[in-house]
Symmetry: D2
């Protein structure tokens, strides 16, 4: 089940060319991913401060299909294509109305903020993320 | 011939986990690309304001290989793998000392800021970019 | 009547010291001001693109009273202390629960984006802003 | 003796109105302040990570005098008007050529990142900052 939310493309997200500044899109992507974790019972402040777990992005592939303009409402749809032992392979689709403006593949890795090494997903985080798997076959704890 | 420059990873580029915030990396990527254009005789302010040409990113694939930390000096190396009729396929390598921290493929497209449609590279811009081609065989004006 | 809205202090708004990064606060301030204009019938995209009117900030005084932390809900309250012929003197109060975390005075000036000179507020914009005046005595078209 | 450095106003620092986005100015301000500390023997990464000292801004008053445009070279001049027991009262002047574009007063407070309370400046930090005092009379360890 995909996670869905939206963001308004504001003045501060746009550039002198009058369209979205792509690093601004990446800020929105992070805030949407953070919102998905919170909505799934894994708020980042507690994960980072108390449990010392981070979820750095190790791979990011983005296709910018069409420009979006200041004032556009961006609809985000996030699902998880594959859930590994310590990784999650997210798929983002961002649309303005019916029009897809960009899509992204983002791979996150559960990481100890002490050692900066990968760790296995804690069971509760894994269960929270599993709710957003595209199919039940995509769980692969060996990865 | 690759373009090389460096950036200090500052306080404002890092996150509560103490490492680089990847949208901050993307801001640095844009500033490095802008510097490469300026160093090659194509400063963006004139391109955008006078000639109404933008170079939006249409594809971006990033591999984050290792974390970088607040205070690290990031060495950027940018080359052009392929120069099409209206596109440029850039390769970025970012290192801290000998250690690669991330690499990126970024495809830019010359675009009219009036119509938001692709245009052919103006001859002078094309010539400026061609200086950074990885090999002489990579020029392909038909693309 | 003050304008009220809220923002979650996200991962990307915080710094390696684990608290809000003040330029991140300023991004939120701009987005809140933009939301107040939109809610009052003056969306910025149309103002900027069609009417070529900007509202640059000419003065900004901020008192950071207490730190806010990643995950805090920030409640913004914006009112207008004084509405001049081409300026607006905004007062922001930002709180986490009952605790004030920062306050700001922000002076905006209606500006032609062609000449970058001050212009008088158009009547509709002025009327929209007047709804947020702290008192009826604060309207001063001579300023 | 003032600290002086410069920054290019890049594409990513500007807004859809074609001029500097003021939160972008604030990012530059932080990076300039960080550079001044580093140049004075107090690099922030060591201060923050090893000594757990932060220097949050508690007061910021900015006057935006004239717009700056994409491509402008911003010359920063920073001095310290007053150095208290745990605070520093900085004055920034930012110019494009001979033209002042903005000035700021910024008050920093030495703070424990464990307790988030003010601490007295360590002697070495105090000595480093004192090099940038406007006059020798401005040292006031009682503040």
């Amino acid at each position: 089940m995909a996670f869905e939310t939206s963001r308004l493309l504001g003045f501060g997200d746009c550039d002198p060319a009058g369209i979205a500044f792509f690093p601004g899109y990446m800020r929105l992507l992070v805030s949407v991913t953070e919102e998905m974790f919170a909505a799934s019972g894994m708020p980042w402040p507690a994960m980072i401060r108390e449990r010392r777990i981070g979820v750095p992005t190790v791979k990011l592939d983005v296709d910018f299909v069409a420009p979006a303009f200041h004032g556009d409402e961006l609809d985000f749809r996030v699902s998880i294509a594959r859930l590994g032992g310590s990784s999650a392979d997210l798929r983002h689709r961002v649309a303005v109305g019916e029009r897809t403006v960009w899509t992204a593949r983002q791979v996150l890795v559960a990481t100890s903020l002490e050692s900066h090494r990968a760790i296995r997903w804690p069971d509760d985080v894994r269960a929270g993320l599993a709710a957003h798997l595209e199919t039940n076959d995509a769980r692969d704890p060996a990865a």
